[in-house]
Symmetry: C2
Subunit: 215 residues, 2 copies
């Protein structure tokens, strides 16, 4: 077997060491102290430094996400992958929970009956939730567009929208729509994003809310 | 609400349209016909064209993955996120299943008792499975290194190893180790990768095995 030289870093310290290396590579660039952990965690999950440039935060978006977490919010995702990636242990400490309606059989049945997409029906489910909601969209631009319509109609008031769908069809447009809305948002401008990025941003907020930045 | 111009693409056609756009952007570059769907699906899940350059395939890696799927393989992942992203419906059509041992309570208990990482114990569980195994590592370089050690000791013979951990500590080294091993492999050389990429590669193989390339 080939000899490889592994860095001797204890498993518990690997994340901290990774964050140091990311900070080094970001160099002299200045980011706001509450946004930096979000940016670093998006880079940590992708090794893609484009997230240092493409993440756009509305005023106080991070503070509003943290406040929602402290008020036992529901985090709504548009994929099971994003749901899986969210640190539920930390979320539950705050009395919160994460949900994904996309594969619920009744959502599929209603979507079929109405000739709508599951993403559309899922967003309507999200709008009907009680208490503060963080909406984290990492996949479906249709979900993001429907959420914006519901907000425009005054039927949905999320505490924060994490708008990071990935892809090539209507993705950029859906994010530009969100950027124009009067709702707290964190957006990965352009085509990049994904369920991993959505989960990473949620976790960055959770760790800041815990007072354990784990940058 | 801002007016946006969405492309009129039926939901069922969005993936096909995305793959067309990716193919256009890849331009005149020539890829082997069995590798191309894997490359395109990695780009589809990340909007990151670096995967056109960093994915490395051992000889017949794709064919061996497809053969394993047709022989009702077990796909072992190192994260719940990658597990969530795999199309289990298609996998189950072939009599296969996906598993992730990382959050099993008995794996955690054994790891603690032995002073090992959960990733190490998980790989030992994978090595003990009957039937063909596709190992998909999207997160933990320690898992990949332990899997290579088990292979070197003759204790683990996966049909295919998808080695796409992401990150900054021992990630590059773990992939270079896998690249040196005499085992069928698909590797994202460098720091990039992730659970989404691991799942995307599995799905690309599943769709090819189904004869529905869904490129």
């Amino acid at each position: 077997m080939k000899k490889i030289h592994l860095q001797r870093v204890a498993p518990a310290d690997i994340e901290a060491r990774s964050m140091e290396l990311i900070a080094q590579e970001l160099g002299e660039r200045v980011f706001s102290p509450e946004q930096l952990p979000v940016i670093k965690r998006a880079i940590h999950t992708s090794a893609d430094f484009d997230y240092a440039d493409n993440l756009v935060f509305s005023a106080d978006a991070v503070a509003k996400g943290i406040a929602a977490i402290k008020e036992s919010c529901t985090i709504v995702t548009d994929t099971q992958m994003a749901f899986s990636g969210i640190n539920k242990r930390v979320l539950e400490k705050f009395g919160g929970r994460a949900v994904c309606f996309m594969s619920d059989p009744d959502v599929a049945a209603e979507a079929k009956a109405r000739g709508e997409t599951r993403a559309t029906v899922s967003m309507e489910r999200a709008a009907a939730l009680e208490g503060p909601v963080i909406l984290a969209v990492g996949n479906a631009p249709t979900a993001l567009v429907r959420a914006c319509e519901l907000m425009d109609e005054g039927k949905f008031r999320p505490a924060l929208v994490i708008g990071v769908p990935v892809g090539f069809v209507n993705v950029v447009e859906s994010k530009e729509l969100l950027l124009s809305m009067d709702v707290p948002h964190i957006v990965a401008r352009g085509r990049k994003g994904g369920s991993n990025i959505a989960a990473a941003i949620c976790n960055a907020l959770l760790y800041q809310a815990s007072g354990n930045a784990r940058e």
